[in-house]
């Protein structure tokens, strides 16, 4: 049995990098599903998805804050940062694949799995990590960075391991009269730059704030200890927001998980564009759909520039986050362009963003411009 505890600061940094990668990996599927919804329908689903996308961005930033707090260097331009879809995520004793697809029942089933509250059943407690079932060629998330073939039982367990690692390493540091929280305070992103993100963004500077940060991520995703709300009884956890759409009913205070009793809501399961799931740029016929192919490539390039901008923002230039806002509007327009146009060689299917981010780390014009303005 392999012990999955974190015992060194370098290990913790790598776990936090993987956490950022994991948080980011949920954004493209949610964002694509959101923009696949046809105008004028699925108002409730649109709101749910929008809220959750924004909260995932918050989680990404929180993970960056923790990494910065312990003197790490967030890097969203590492060649493996953006994942190759479909990617696999832990699902208890097995794993499942998350991909880029239109809003619909199938997408929702996947989203529920992503946010699933998962505590180990008694017979597995203390049994170590789980072996991957998916092909080693599939991008795996929520796994142990030291053992690509082993994954955690759930995302919650992955974060608990990080929290335990922080506690252990800080206690060790204390024993020799020091601390692991040596990061530059000015690298922290605060609510000045990020709010209305379904939670307060706060600076991580010590053990207390670091543990609060990990708890916030877990609770917003899964709820607090199996309850439908997060810790302040104020916000519904992601899992139950998706569950509302499946059940066609809102949760209200006092409801038990799985049994919403609030007002009914309407979901139009046909109200999304039929996009080709997990499309790759090479799947778009360069002769028949040259414009679509160009649009897909342009989006990927722009997305790569966006990740570079975020990297700089998380590395001491938080004001650059303000420049990221208009880029998000560009994304909406670019994604809609892809999603609303048919693919000639896939009859009945429309295009979609492929999120194949160029590995190039050279500084793009946009970040230079943003820097000058900032």
């Amino acid at each position: 049995m392999y012990s999955y505890s974190i015992r060194t600061l370098d290990e913790l940094k790598e776990f936090l990098y993987q956490a950022m990668r994991l948080e980011h990996a949920t954004i493209p599927p949610y964002l694509t599903a959101l923009y696949s919804i046809k105008p004028g329908v699925n108002q409730d689903a649109t709101q749910v998805l929008r809220v959750i996308v924004v909260e995932e961005m918050l989680h990404l930033t929180i993970a960056a804050n923790i990494l910065n707090a312990i003197g790490g260097t967030p890097d969203l331009t590492r060649p493996d940062f953006a994942v190759d879809y479909p990617a696999s995520l832990p699902d208890g004793e097995t794993d499942f694949k998350v991909g880029i697809q239109a809003f619909g029942r199938e997408a929702l089933a996947t989203f529920l799995k992503i946010e699933r509250p998962a505590q180990r059943p008694i017979h597995l407690v203390g049994k170590g990590l789980i072996h991957r079932k998916t092909s080693p060629h599939t991008t795996a998330l929520g796994n142990d960075p030291r053992h690509e073939d082993l994954h955690f039982y759930s995302i919650g367990e992955f974060y608990s391991t990080i929290a335990e690692g922080i506690k252990y390493l800080e206690a060790e540091a204390h024993r020799v009269g020091t601390t692991i929280f040596t990061g530059d305070r000015s690298r922290q992103i605060t609510s000045e730059y990020y709010y209305s993100g379904g939670g307060e963004l706060f600076a991580v500077t010590d053990l207390k704030s670091a543990l609060e940060a990990t708890e916030l991520i877990i609770e917003q995703g899964e709820g607090d200890g199996g309850g439908i709300y997060d810790d302040n009884e104020h916000e519904l956890a992601h899992y139950y927001r998706f569950d509302e759409l499946v059940k066609g009913r809102y949760y209200q205070k006092g409801d038990q998980p799985g049994h919403p009793t609030g007002p009914q809501l309407q979901v139009d399961w046909e109200g999304a564009y039929p996009i080709k799931a997990n499309l790759k740029v090479v799947d778009i016929d360069i002769k028949k759909d040259p414009e679509l192919r160009e649009a897909a490539t342009a989006f990927n390039t722009r997305y790569g520039e966006f990740l570079q901008l975020l990297t700089r923002a998380y590395n001491g230039q938080p004001t650059l986050l303000l420049e990221a806002v208009p880029i998000m509007f560009e994304f909406r327009n670019m994604i809609l362009e892809l999603i609303r146009n048919p693919l000639t060689n896939h009859p009945g299917k429309n295009g979609c963003p492929t999120y194949e981010i160029p590995g190039s780390t050279k500084q793009a014009a946009v970040t230079r411009q943003a820097e000058v303005r900032a």
């Binding site: 004028g40 108002q43 809220v51 609510s191 000045e192 709010y195 209305s196 379904g198 806002v325």
Partner: protein, 622 residues
Amino acid sequence: MLFPLESALTADPKTVAASGDYDIVIIGAGISGAIIAKQAAEAGKRVLILEAGTGANRTLAGYDDLLTNFYSAASKDNQSPFPLNANAAMPRSPLRKLQAGQTDSSTYIVQSGPYVSDTTYTRIFGGTTMHWEAKTPRLLRSDFKTRTIFGQGLDWPLSFEEIEDDYRLAEREIGVSANVDDQQYLGQTFPGDYVFPMRGLPLSYLDQQVNKGIEGTSVELHGKTYPLKVRPYPQGRNSIPNPAYDGGKGYRPIGAVDTHQVEEGGRCQGNTNCVPLCPVQARYHAGKTLAKAFAVNGKSSERLVELLSQAVASKVNIDPDSGKVRTIEVKVYKDPASAAHETITVKGKVFVLGAGAIETARLMLASGLPSTSGLVGRNLMDHAYLLNWALMPQICGTMRGTSSTGGIVDLRDGPFRERQAAFAIDIHNDGWGWATGAPTSDLLELVDDRNLHGADLRRGVIDRVSRQLLLAFMIEVMPVESNRITVDPRYTDPLGNMRPILSFTVPEYTMKGAAYGRHFARTVFARLGAQDHTYYDPSDFGYVDFEKQGYAIRGGNHLAGTHIMGTTKTNSVVDKNQRSWDHENLYLVGGGSMPTIGTANVTLTLAAMCFRSSRDILKYLH
């Protein structure tokens, strides 16, 4: 759940009518009523709010429906999101030109010529803050005593110093974005440690281009020199929270995305359709304050604030012996499409009329309550707007940013106010829209008259629109008793309620300001090298002749003065707490209480006054 269920609930007319224990009954779910309801509930009082509109927009789905109405409307005027509701009708375009003595009763407000005002207000949950532009300047110190200083208008029974703390409460409630440094002009001062809840929004590129052309220049007026520059406006929309707010505690904007936040708004994205409706609720509206009020629970965790919508107050009943308000008669309709209704009587200890300057006066007059001073309905004020438009010599990125981010405001005050009205100039980021119907009018012309299409059309629109500069002169109007609201049983709505009749003449003092404003605009255009396209059509409904020149005057929707406050029951309708002199348990709140409006949009000031009234009401109840 995505929205707080509590706010989706609404009271039942029978229960409301049977209930004898409301501490406060408020007419109107606008910002005035919202602030008083919230303050009272937090003090443990039971509050009933009566709202004439359907209240559907109190949920996110209802708000989104208003947005859909706006997006699909052919005319994007400031009432376009709001469905027609004859039972709670509101002023709407189009208006027609009238001759002197001619009366038009075809629109909700009955107007008689020759001047026709296009002023509007919104009879809907959230009141006129549902479509306001959210500029939040304070009145200047001198605005509180224009009679003493300039021999014009009336003095307030309050000084700036007496209302200053309440201005700060109002700025907190609205979540004003501004930098203190930018607001320190014309003697405006702030305590040493004061910061606004959020940092100022940046000036638009258009503002910066205008500033480049005029900064360092000045104008002379009656022997005094006024330096020119573009200054940012304080605004009721979310920007970056200031960490130094509240002694370093910071300000927490209520965000847009969680259960509770979804009702309350994200960060300003510069969508430029602030008026009529912000798509992300970054702009403050009274629904945000109401959501907080609805969330307050009493001792046995019952909700303290109830809302009865589709409830149009029709008569205030007075006890003839005590002069106190005994009840209010309310017509509750079942469907906006039908006049079928039941009439209920509502009891309470204190009554608050917060239905806006026109509706509050209308209700008082329709109830036969003209007041000792005889001033109910009189002294109607609204900023007179004079539009001036030109094409900038270079591309200025018009249509970016919020509706208006900055302006030329150094002529808001000066000794010249002895002779002519002051003004503040808004630079409009949405181009010539208000003046000409741009960009739709540009598009039609390019397609129909010039036969452009494809790339040429796109280029053409950019060339036309992105250089458009609109300077909107917001000109001071002083109280004049003959400018007024009246009622007449000949003009009623489907529920049988009397409609407001508006009589208004733009005062000479204001027209002198307008004439100078036109001259001033020419000066600014010349300095900018901008080509003046301003044209006032004599057939325009707001056309006014003044000293052989014609001007089209627009209403500013900054309504005030119909129940002005003063020092005695003979010179005013309400006291400095907005309490009726004649009825000790009746408060007439909102812009109607303002004795003068200076050159500040009225909402911040009336919000500040409602904090003051809240304290007085609680004192009265104890």
